[in-house]
């Protein structure tokens, strides 16, 4: 009769208790949309987590096989709806790759500005919502206050606040309006002092550290095995950023830019020094707490925070380059542009990781096959591995630190 539980992560209790199956979601406050997690718990301890997907499936890829590439741009907006600009960019680049279409210089810098601003906006949501997952409400609103300002800028550029369809194959739908660059500089100037506030409220907060440090530790091997990308991968100490490591067609967009991949240096145990002179000395960055282990929730969060700083750096450089660049913003391709026969695949570094689009054409103006490879899908798959043996309260902390967007997972 006696049995032995082999997995040492499943804890034997002194007091015998019964296990419970609990549905977390799809209508749950902290599952970031319509994610459904089935938890097998023993009291407060979670022994197994199984994510269930598909509540937001909209057949986006299938629709893409019935529309021309330009027509499908709005559907990419609705994938990672928190970073629509970056989704647009990924699709635009892959279509351009198939068409072998090259952009003018100015359009390249415009894309850097827009996509990095999109990264800031997306990380702000990730950061604020993570606070919400841990039970503090205020950082969420601070983050959204700043995000709203970015959305205002986007609205001025393209007229939309959520589903932009701004970056299209061939360039952008229009140039930045006059005065936009200065407004953007003003925004960055007032946004920079906000970053230490976020650090004080969250990163440095002792309760926050207690809730995140050492929780959901993912080794580099696990991260690679599960195909995690983006801040989740870099939080585990793997120096992989498609803006450096990606295809040339993508990395050439960042040619001439100075920025760092945010990853912990395995020797010094430090992150790239964010004390840059252009930020002044008033930025007070937190030390890595003693409790934190590389690859835990705290590191994933911190990587996002530092990436915001790098994105600001990039935007500032891009604004200068944009002003002095030659050429125009790039004309969008025709709505019914014939695609050459063949296939193309390109990955870009979206805020949540590697966003790849795959396009097969039979020579028609409508693609024969469209496929999106989303980062969150792989990032989420690691949940059940990370959550095993944690406490119930750690599940939102871990899922939140993966920063998933269901629109991108289900497509």
């Amino acid at each position: 009769m006696s049995t032995k539980v082999d997995d040492p992560r499943v804890i034997e209790f002194d007091v015998r208790t019964d296990e419970m199956l609990i549905n977390m979601g799809p209508q749950h406050p902290s599952t970031h949309g319509v994610l459904r997690l089935i938890l097998r718990t023993d009291g407060e301890i979670v022994s197994e987590v199984e994510p269930h997907l598909g509540y937001l499936h909209r057949c986006a890829e299938k629709i893409g096989e019935n529309l021309t590439p330009r027509q499908w741009v709005p559907y990419t907006d609705r994938m990672d709806y928190l970073a629509g600009m970056n989704m647009n960019l990924g699709w635009a680049l892959v279509v351009e790759k198939l068409l072998e279409h090259d952009l003018p210089e100015k359009a390249r810098h415009l894309r850097v500005i827009i996509s990095e601003m999109g990264r800031i906006a997306s990380h702000l949501v990730g950061m604020g919502a993570y606070g919400l997952d841990l039970g503090t409400f205020s950082p969420f609103l601070y983050a959204f206050r700043e995000r709203e300002k970015i959305l205002d800028l986007f609205e001025k550029a393209c007229g939309a606040r959520l589903t932009y369809s701004y970056l299209t194959p061939g360039g952008a739908t229009g140039d930045l309006p006059p005065g936009w660059v200065d407004e953007c500089r003003d925004f960055l100037a007032q946004f920079k002092p906000c970053i230490p506030e976020f650090h004080e409220l969250l990163t440095n907060n002792q309760i926050f550290i207690g809730r995140t440090a050492g929780i959901g530790v993912m080794s580099a091997a696990t991260a690679i095995n599960y195909g995690c990308t983006g801040p989740v991968l870099r939080g585990s100490g793997v120096p992989y950023d498609l803006r450096f490591n990606g295809e040339e067609r993508y990395t050439e967009m960042y040619e001439g830019y100075q920025f760092d991949v945010i990853v912990q240096d395995p020797e010094t145990g430090k992150y790239p020094d964010p004390h840059l002179e252009e930020f002044g000395d008033d930025l007070d960055y937190p030390e890595i707490p003693k409790e934190a282990i590389l690859g835990d929730c705290w590191h994933r969060f911190y990587v996002r925070m530092l990436e915001v700083v790098q994105a600001i750096r990039l935007v500032e450089q891009a604004l200068d380059k944009y002003e002095s660049a030659s050429g125009d913003w790039g004309q969008p391709i025709k709505l019914t542009q014939k695609l050459p026969k063949g296939e193309a695949y390109l990955e870009t570094e979206a805020p949540r990781g590697q966003m790849g689009f795959y396009l097969v054409s039979t020579g028609d103006s409508i693609p024969w096959r469209v496929r999106a490879r989303s980062s969150c899908f792989c990032n989420l798959s690691v949940t059940s591995e990370l959550c095993r043996g944690t406490l119930l309260a750690d599940v939102p902390a871990i899922v939140g630190s993966l920063d998933v967007v269901m629109g991108e997972i289900d497509r």
Binding site: T3, P8, R9, R16, I215
Partner: protein, 256 residues
């Protein structure tokens, strides 16, 4: 003003006595009759709570508050245990055999008759004049017993200072020794209870834990039809270092 003057304030005592006694007895009967543990514990709380009311009524304020805090608070733990031990099969019922009921009622009834006879049998206990006199000489100070109680527990009986008995008048004959004995007793009992509540930390649980888990899961699967679990999907081979450290940490937490 006749009516107002007529109903003397003394009758409040009767009123509240009947109220508290009634609640106490009625809910005690409910404890007896119900089969649901959680409801039983809840009724017990009400019964004990109104008994605390009786204590207040009899002038034992400190004991009444103590009753609320320890007895009723202790029942809280009972309640939790009730929930915990019955959570797997809710509203668990363990019916008593009718013979037991009959037997218990007969014995209990006889005991009740005997006790009530004894309680009502002594004249001096039924002497209403004494209580009326005591109430008439009502002094709020009489209820202020917390300090004398505390001093009695440390060995000094301040309430016996004006006693006729010279041995008592010294303020001796407190309850220091019983107090210490009870304290040590409590300590021993708590350690013992904590020790006993621990089973041997074993991977060989007597009644297969995994079997029970499997049964539970099958039942759950039936409830949530799209949940598919294989109960024996545990792979220890793919463990990574970090996960082990996490498991150790969780073990520490569990031990806390």
């Amino acid at each position: 003003m006749g009516i107002l003057a007529a109903v003397n304030r003394v009758y409040w005592h009767e009123f509240f006595f009947m109220l508290f006694a009634g609640i106490s007895v009625v809910f005690a009967v409910c404890v007896l009759l119900t089969q649901n543990i959680v409801r039983m514990a809840f009724y017990l709380v009400l019964s004990l709570g109104s008994t605390a009311g009786l204590f207040f009524l009899a002038g034992a304020e400190f004991v009444g508050a103590m009753q609320l805090m320890i007895y009723v608070g202790g029942t809280l733990v009972l309640l939790i245990f009730g929930v915990m031990l019955t959570a797997q099969q809710r509203y668990v019922k363990m019916n008593t055999h009718p013979t037991d009921w009959v037997l218990a009622t007969i014995v209990g009834g006889s005991l009740l008759v005997l006790l009530i006879g004894a309680a009502a049998g002594v004249d001096s206990w039924k002497d209403a004049s004494a209580s009326k006199k005591a109430l008439a000489e009502l002094d709020v100070d009489d209820a202020r017993t917390a300090t004398p109680l505390g001093l009695a527990l440390t060995g000094v009986r301040v309430d016996k200072l004006d006693s006729d008995d010279p041995a008592l008048a010294n303020g001796q004959s407190g309850y220091l020794l019983p107090f210490i004995i009870v304290s040590v007793h409590l300590l021993v009992v708590l350690i013992g209870a904590a020790y006993m509540a621990r089973t041997k930390r074993s991977a060989t649980a007597p009644v297969g834990r995994a079997e029970r888990a499997r049964l539970n899961i099958m039942q759950m699967e039936h409830e949530t039809d799209d949940v598919v679990y294989s109960a024996s999907k545990q792979s220890s081979s793919s463990l990574l270092d970090s996960d082990q450290s996490q498991a150790e940490e969780s073990t520490d937490e569990a031990q806390e």
